[in-house]
Symmetry: C2
Subunit: 135 residues, 2 copies
DNA sequence: TTCACTGCAAATGCTTTGCAGCGCC
DNA sequence: GGCGCTGCAAAGCATTTGCAGTGAA
């Protein structure tokens, strides 16, 4: 029988701290960045624990995950209402958020046509922003 | 004045071997994979050199680069004629190639509207394939 | 002959893991 | 009080780099 695995999850101050930190962030952060951030706020969470908690939250679908241009895993509080993609400047790192309902439905349709389920997708556009292109 | 930087590039057997190997591949490969492949064909190129040559080819625009799901850099011989995306099974790794002209033009339009140039994009769809979903 | 290219091994930097102690339930 | 969670340090990987020998031009 298929059961949703009920995973026990103790409420520790580390987990709360990380959860709270994510609430205060609009955008994706890497594990390293989040860890640095917590340290600056004098919240003591080890790097290993930060990795573990973020991975576990991603597993439970509490955060969205994707890879940044450097190949690092980056996380963001999951909020179905604000799914969007990014236009990134290769040079200065500037990002523009993009709403793309057309792409969402396209991805869903492609997946359906191929019988795929539990679908996620990543879409990133890289280029040179006007300022960097002007130099 | 903008000049294309003329970079000297000696023709070594390592560079030829890697170039030839890429010609024989349709899809993206990671540096590690390419290196393994060359070894299986008894072509002796060190891993470090494989990294160096691929990075240099990417620099010169001879190959396309992006990141795979694991965050590794992957390369493919540059060929504007066969650009496509992938639908990947999270469980068994099966991939389905997808032609998506609509997405191409969408990405180009978004970039143009924001003044971005020299645009690249990555689109990957992850899910469970029919076989893996059935289990 | 010259100097870029290579191979090798050591060094990096991100991420994961083993283990003993801690603390939530 | 039990057992999942932490911190720490060590281990793992992919990738990069220093250096001296090799070979393309």
């Amino acid at each position: 029988m298929s059961e949703v695995p009920v995973r026990e999850q103790r409420v520790t101050k580390q987990r709360l701290a990380i959860s709270a930190a994510l609430d205060g962030l609009e955008d994706f952060v890497s594990t390293q960045e989040l860890h640095r951030l917590l340290h600056e706020q004098d919240v003591r969470v080890s790097l290993a624990t930060t990795y573990r908690i973020l991975a576990s939250m991603a597993d439970d679908g509490l955060v969205d995950t994707l890879r940044n241009g450097e190949g690092e895993a980056v996380y963001r509080r999951c909020s179905a209402t604000s799914h969007h993609h990014h236009l990134l400047c290769r040079n200065c790192g500037k990002t523009v958020e993009i709403e793309a309902p057309a792409v969402e439905s396209w991805a869903a349709r492609i997946a359906r046509e191929n019988g795929f389920t539990q679908v996620q997708h990543t879409v990133e556009i890289y280029g040179l922003c006007p300022e960097c292109a002007a130099v």
